[in-house]
């Protein structure tokens, strides 16, 4: 027993030392444990590492202002290593061994699907910060990323508009797992409703970590030369994006001829790519680093100084992106809900989450829907600039309510907008 306590103290000291929490005196007081479940190695590390940093940064910020309910937050970071079954194992460890009050985690939908049964069984609380395919509404999860109607559908509508180039033919290109497959199913139904024939849609998938995009690029070139204006909708995830965009640039596919709009590529993923040949290709998100407003200034400065303080690689060029913003919103909304509920009890916090608002770096006051566990978010479409940032070319006038059950999938009209559960 003594030994165990000793180990506990030791690990707490290690955590304190590692994350720069203020002083040893914090140890004496009771803490609230917060789980961080993001891949820090493997194919998804390119995207997820920054989210871990964002959670730690928000926790540090909250602790420096006195914590939550008078207690400090204590992060518990685990690395599920882009390995989907490992996500479930680590989630179980966070909930039953570390007894975290809340978890911020997951990027790919397959990892979220993998941990869902664990959160349902142990009645945990998960904040999922990434845009996804919808078709899900769980009592134990809050979705702070975009549903298809807050990202994918507006992007395709833009491509079909005059400013977007009036595309008539579409390549749906993705990594082979649940998110791209479902999104493309929704998009196919949407395009059909807009009068696009099946022959004008090409669907292509590659495995995770795929690095040879020559054939796909050649296919896109061929498909786009068979008449009518073509656009590519990419749901490629993880580090495959780097070879994909390199090949795209080298093959000379210009955005003015065949624009590529991506749903999982932001400022962070483009850091490893020469963006000069990619100028004009698009991404659709609910936040861009280049947005100009006071909240965003604060947010980007905060992250920059965090990156320098933590000595992150290339800290001088640290960037923020949409899932990081969604993570930040999530941490703060959870804090507000805990303060409203005056407890970290999962059921009480879930009830208190409804209708929470937060002044987000996107420049809007974002609201958690009273019923459906999703945020009301603004939609931005940006074109890649030569410096790897995005130039916003289209945006919604205000936040849009999420529709997790896409109306373009048959049978969804009967589904309820509230999660089943307690």
């Amino acid at each position: 027993m003594v030994r165990r306590n000793f180990m506990k103290t030791l690990s707490a000291v290690a955590v304190t030392a590692a994350f720069g929490l203020n002083s040893l005196s914090a140890l004496a007081a009771e803490t609230i444990k917060v789980g961080v479940l993001h891949s820090l190695s493997g194919t998804m590390a390119i995207s997820e590492t920054a989210l871990k940093e964002t959670v730690l940064m928000a926790i540090d910020e909250i602790n420096s202002k006195g914590g939550v309910l008078g207690k400090k937050l204590e992060p518990v970071v685990v690395d599920p290593a882009s390995n989907w079954p490992l996500f479930a194992e680590k989630a179980r460890q966070l909930l039953s061994k570390d007894k975290v009050a809340v978890t911020f985690g997951c990027w790919t939908s397959v990892s979220r699907k993998s941990v869902l049964p664990v959160y349902k069984e142990l009645n945990g609380l998960l904040f999922y910060p990434v845009q996804y395919e919808g078709e899900e509404l769980e009592y134990n999860v809050f979705y702070t990323g975009a549903a298809p109607n807050q990202q994918a559908i507006p992007a395709v509508e833009y491509l079909m508009s005059k400013d977007g180039g009036e595309a008539k033919r579409f390549v749906l290109l993705g990594t082979d797992y649940v998110y791209p497959r479902t999104t493309n199913k929704i998009l196919r139904a949407f395009l059909k409703s807009k009068g696009v024939a099946d022959a004008d849609i090409m669907e292509e998938y590659t495995p995770f970590g795929h690095s040879d995009y020559q054939t796909i690029i050649a296919k896109i070139k061929k498909f786009s030369s068979e008449g009518k204006k073509t656009a590519v909708i990419s749901t490629i995830n993880g580090d495959s994006n780097v070879p994909f965009y390199k090949e795209l640039g080298n093959a000379g596919i210009k955005a003015t001829d065949v624009p590529v709009v991506a749903f999982s590529v932001g400022e962070e993923e483009l850091r490893g790519v020469d963006t000069k040949p990619l100028v004009g290709h698009l991404a659709s998100w609910n936040y861009f680093m280049s947005l100009k407003n006071a909240e965003n200034d604060k947010f980007t400065k905060l992250y920059r100084s965090w990156a320098v303080k933590q000595k992150l690689p290339n800290a001088d060029k640290a960037v923020t992106n949409d899932p990081m913003e969604a993570t930040y919103i999530g941490v703060y909304m959870w804090k507000q809900a805990v303060e409203k509920a005056k407890s970290t009890d999962v059921d009480k916090v879930i009830a208190a989450m409804a209708g929470q608002t937060f002044k987000a770096p996107s420049g809007f006051t974002i609201k958690m829907d009273e019923k459906n566990h999703h945020l009301h978010k603004p939609v931005f479409i940006g074109e890649i600039k030569a410096d790897g940032q995005f130039n916003v070319v289209w945006k919604t006038p205000g936040p849009v309510k999420a529709a997790p059950w896409s109306p373009y999938i048959p049978g969804n009209d009967k589904k309820k907008d509230t999660p089943e559960g307690k």
Binding site: S41, D79, K162, T215, N250, T256, E383
Partner: protein, 532 residues
């Protein structure tokens, strides 16, 4: 779109005296939020002051046109120029906002710029402008193209312009003009021309899109000849991608062809030797960035020897410390090298971080050569193909022409006999293993240019490398070459047909069946060998 060009033609037909400055009222609408206003402003500007408009429009295209208060300015590094009269403003205004453009404006802008450049005095500029004009030629550009054709002397540019002219004449009301245009376009091998000709043979309702039957027939003939050329270029492109994948597989597998193929060591840490090479490329890039920023583009050349030596050093250490105690015990070797592989990955994770590191392509490896309008060969691929040939030749020379190579062959063929005649077999084993590891390092340097560099990168290549060596026949360099090329081309043709996911499965199934039917691989060693 059309309007802008129409107006441009207007000014080109009546080029007036050059103006000294641009009216600021013309510049202001460039900063508008609305695309239509912006496009109208570009047109008006090009029409009003063609000579002065060029730098302004160029700045707009390069994201360096900005608004500072009431003025529109060009940002050139540290300096800020007034767009209206091209004079420097000092002190430079601090509050300025860059004017952003979207793809639609960018398209209009490049058309306007191309039209302005068609009359440049430099041939290269005109050549590029002619190409850009071809992309978007339509009826309203005809007067401009006529003028350009009249002034143009260079035969190559003339051919380009004639194509653009034919393209623009497709919309003519005169059937004769259309017929001539369709015939000229048959010479093109641009997929975009095909796009233009395709609708001519379509029916809209009851009537043909193209009323004249002679033009329709000519369009059909032109289309067929274009399609033939396109199909040819297509297969050529596919063969090249296959060759490129083959060269990558070969680079990944060549080192293994020595350590496993010739020496018989099942080296599961081979992928990590590739990783060592790739990280050396990254390290050299960092060193050049810090100490030789001027020569940054050449870091890759320095990375070649460094990658070789680093991987060879790791290989020699592996051999001396672990593998030499396990010769003749393949199962233990397999387990031990697998352990080394995990160990090396963890070392990389600890030293360089778990995330991928960024290895940039040097400028001379970016872009590609456009052989045909639908066939672009990227430089990085071409260079890697050439590099793999060079490595192959060097390795062949070492094994067959050098003293070390002779010893290696002697030891692998008959170890006791080689020992009897005075070959230091132990040292030769170490050197041969180091050579194989070094070549894996070279493969890693090449891979860093096309794949992601991270601690787990080797895992993606270990299966492919063993596949190549086993398929080619153990102990055979020629076998490895044929197997790598064969697998590359086979995979690429399959991918074009079934998609990447299915292709990967089919290749694996094919190899399993092949090895069952022919366990010795493509090329079996002939002659007498003494098993140690």
């Amino acid at each position: 779109m059309g309007k802008s060009r129409f107006l441009l033609c207007g000014w080109l037909l009546s080029v007036s005296l050059a103006q000294a400055a641009i009216d600021p009222a013309l510049l202001k609408p460039l900063a508008s939020e609305d695309s239509d206003t912006k496009i109208a402003a570009i047109t008006a500007l090009a029409q009003a002051a063609p000579a002065e408009a060029l730098p302004v429009l160029k700045a707009l295209a390069d994201d360096s046109l900005a608004v500072a208060g009431e003025r529109v300015v060009i940002v050139a590094g540290e300096r800020v120029l007034d767009a209206a009269n091209n004079t420097e403003i000092s002190p430079a205004p601090a509050a300025r906002e860059v004017i952003g453009i979207n793809n639609r404006v960018r398209r209009e802008l490049s058309a306007a710029l191309a039209a302005l450049r068609l009359f440049s005095t430099e041939r290269a500029v005109r050549w590029q402008a002619a190409q850009e004009v071809t992309l978007s030629a339509d009826a309203k550009m005809l007067p401009l193209l006529d003028r350009a054709l009249a002034a143009e002397k260079d035969p190559e540019i003339r051919t380009r312009l004639q194509l653009a002219h034919a393209q623009a004449s497709l919309g003519s009301t005169d059937a004769e003009v259309r017929l001539a245009a369709v015939k000229t376009l048959g010479e093109s091998s641009d997929p975009k021309v095909r796009q233009l000709l395709l609708p001519l043979n379509e029916k809209r309702g009851d009537s043909w899109v193209e009323p004249d039957s002679a033009v329709r027939a000519a369009a059909g003939t032109s289309l067929r000849s274009i399609e033939q050329r396109l199909a040819w270029a297509d297969s050529l492109g596919r063969a090249f991608t296959g060759l490129s994948l083959g060269s990558i597989l070969l680079l990944a597998a060549l080192g293994l062809a020595i350590t496993y193929g010739v020496m018989g060591v099942i080296n599961m840490a081979h992928g990590e030797l590739l990783m060592v090479g790739a990280y050396s490329a990254w390290a050299m890039q960092s060193v050049f960035r810090a100490y030789l920023p001027g020569a940054l583009d050449w870091y890759l050349l320095a990375a070649i020897p460094v990658g070789f030596l680093a991987a060879a050093l790791v290989g020699v250490l592996m051999e001396r410390l672990i593998i030499r105690h396990l010769y003749g015990r393949p199962l233990e070797t397999l387990l031990a090298t697998w352990g080394i592989s995990l160990f090396l990955m963890q070392v990389a994770r600890t030293v360089f971080g778990a995330q991928n590191v960024e290895v940039a392509n040097p400028a001379w490896m970016a872009g590609g050569i456009e052989l045909l309008p639908n066939l672009m060969l990227p430089w990085n691929r071409i260079i890697i193909v050439a590099f793999s040939i060079a490595v192959l030749v060097a390795m062949w020379a070492i094994l067959n022409l050098s003293r070390l190579g002779m010893f290696v062959r002697a030891v692998t063929q008959n170890r006791p006999m080689a020992g009897c005649v005075g070959v230091p077999t132990g040292r030769i084993d170490t050197l041969a293993f180091g050579l194989g590891a070094g070549i894996a390092g070279l493969g890693g340097v090449a891979l860093s240019q096309i794949a992601n560099v991270g601690p787990d990168m080797g895992q993606g290549y270990i299966v492919d490398s063993f596949m190549v060596v086993v398929l080619g026949g153990v102990g055979q360099l020629a076998g490895a070459v044929w197997a790598a090329l064969g697998l590359g081309v086979f995979t690429k043709f399959l991918e074009g047909w079934t998609g990447a996911v299915v292709a990967k499965i089919v290749v694996l199934v094919f190899i399993i069946i092949f090895i069952q039917k022919r366990p010795q691989g493509l090329f079996a060693l002939k002659g007498r060998f003494v098993e140690s």
